[in-house]
Symmetry: C2
Subunit: 346 residues, 2 copies
């Protein structure tokens, strides 16, 4: 019989609330014969304040025994900026080699967007997750003096770029439009830019059916608001991916519905799935958070583990729920979760 | 008697056409007693192909004798990506220490925007222009092999950050709302992020009337499409500034109307003014390019040289022209220039 052994990290702020709904929908969608085991972990601001720890080697040892990880949100204003981000979120992405950071954007009919004219939006960003300016390389000299110099080093390797580019080509090949856009800034960041561009062009030869193009990251933000329909699959580096996926989320229904997967395709380590939004401490504990992004992250998780039908059912339930929202009164976090659970079960 | 000794660099593609209109409006707006001298330089793709040169030391020596520089656009598909950008545009910004890269965004009533509901947009981005990931630091080893490693080093100095932050505080102080937002990614790029944040907070103490806040660059792209009215003055690093100003241009009337100044406030070197858009080779020579961004860049140039009334008259002429466009047939590049020249003269 089949089983899923899931690590659950509710985290901070609204993390608790949205993860509860994610698990509700997960239980509702799984067939009877699949045994779901969950283990909750208390990472986040509270544990950091209590113990000074963000993520220890022992923690990593435990986490890696799971099939996958579901994360709510990590971060709190009481913790200095960077501590939990570098000490937990990024540490986990690097430790488990989550090099494919997958972020789909789809604007469903009737869903609110800040863009005029309800444009067609249906693309997925494959963001590199283990290199670029996120490596923590760099440093500071003469800190706090008028002569301080601080550097950040973006590290890009042929190995790291090729595997994520290849993953993006595979995804593009599997989609009806078969189009892949490389987003970089190769006219200024010429060292990294040449590496990305050359690897991209080389791998492209193996995928003759995939149409390719290149645009600079600055121009990409323009297209995301003036012509988002031009995108099918985008592949880009860690930092550019961070920036354009927040914008992509904003134009395609808001970060309340943006899901993401931190994926290790080799399955050597468990992959982690999380909403793109943060812990939103201002609305925490009030039942106001939209759990949809977490529920969609559960769909990504299921697809990663091979439960494609169940993932499809979640996507369909969310689509139906979103398109029926217009004009209705706002629902609480658990009301939305209940509605989705009913839909996927039915 | 007063005089302006202007270097004119039409450049590539539509550069020629838009610069001609910029000069037309400049001549029309200047009082009789101001002597305008212009000297044209042939930098760009053609000169590069003919001579292999982008910008020599002798060129710099000549350029620095001018009071200011007006640039159309540089770049052509026939030149490998990066050659003219690094070899001309960035070389000039660095050589003349253009550390304040000024990019105002204002959505005028009736002007088309991809955003729904015609939001209020009136802010200015002060982008650092001589540091960050634009320094060209970095390199490549094992190029072209499966073991290639390419790095890009973002260099940030207290000296460089403080002067641009100070400039931004001055600009915020002079505006009615007196609000300054620092945009960075200090939770991930912690070395540079701490430097920027500390300098920003320290300088803030000298400007008690200015309201300050901080947002991450990814979140900034969200606000730019969901709540652009929250911005008054933004200060940010070179790369983040590049990205968010293209987005800012897109939401506030398009890059056809986005002006920029590469400013050396000390006036030790001439400052350079240019439209944010590129050379657009696809529409070059057809009289289709909108010269408005260049004309607005001329206004920035005039303000930099102390001709505030004349700059105001150009801004007013452009505002009137833009708000009267709706429903009218498209005009040619020179028709728009003529109309603006008539308005500023009247
Ligand atoms: C919180 C932060 C470290 C993170 C990132 O920059 O990757 C977030 O913005 C994201 O996009 O997942
Ligand atoms: C052409 C390129 C070098 C330049 C930049 O990145 O600064 C452009 O995008 C700009 O914004 O002026």
């Amino acid at each position: 019989s089949r089983s899923i052994n899931l690590a659950v990290i509710p985290g901070d702020g609204i993390g608790q609330e949205v993860v509860a709904e994610g698990l509700k929908v997960l239980s509702a969608v799984l067939p009877q014969d699949v045994k779901l085991e969950t283990k909750e972990y208390d990472f986040g601001a509270q544990r950091y304040h209590a113990t000074g720890e963000t993520l220890t080697d022992a923690d990593l040892e435990q986490l890696r025994r799971h099939d996958a990880i579901l994360l709510g949100a990590i971060g709190d204003p009481s913790v200095p900026s960077g501590v939990l981000e570098r000490g937990f979120l990024l540490k986990l992405r690097f430790a488990f080699d989550h090099h494919v950071n997958l972020r789909p954007s789809k604007l469903l009919p009737g869903v609110a967007t800040p863009l005029a004219g309800q444009p067609e939006i249906d693309f997925v960003v494959v963001r590199e997750g283990t290199e670029g300016p996120y490596t923590g390389n760099g440093g500071t000299i003469r800190k706090g003096t008028p002569h301080e110099v601080a550097t950040e080093v973006s590290v890009n390797t042929a190995y790291g770029v090729e595997r994520v580019v290849r993953d993006a080509f595979e995804r593009a090949q599997a989609r009806p439009r078969k189009k892949l856009t490389l987003v970089h800034k190769n006219n200024v960041l010429t060292f990294a830019g040449h590496l990305w561009t050359n690897v991209f062009n080389r791998v492209a030869e193996e995928y003759p059916e995939v149409t390719t193009d290149y645009i600079h990251v600055d121009a990409a933000t323009i297209y995301l608001v003036t012509d988002p329909a031009r995108f099918d699959v985008i592949v880009t580096d860690n930092l550019f991916g961070d920036i354009i996926t927040d914008l992509a989320a904003a134009v395609s229904g808001g970060i309340g519905v943006a899901a993401s997967g931190n994926i290790n395709p080799s399955r050597e380590f468990p992959s982690m799935f999380e909403p793109v939004h943060g812990s939103a401490p201002d609305i925490a504990g009030q039942g106001k958070a939209d759990p949809t992004a977490t529920v969609l992250s559960v769909a990504l998780l299921l697809r990663h583990l091979g439960y494609d039908d169940e993932a499809d059912r979640i996507d369909a339930a969310v689509a139906a729920d979103l398109t029926e929202r217009t004009g209705k009164p706002a629902r609480s976090t658990s009301e939305i979760g209940d509605a989705l659970a009913v839909r996927v079960a039915g």
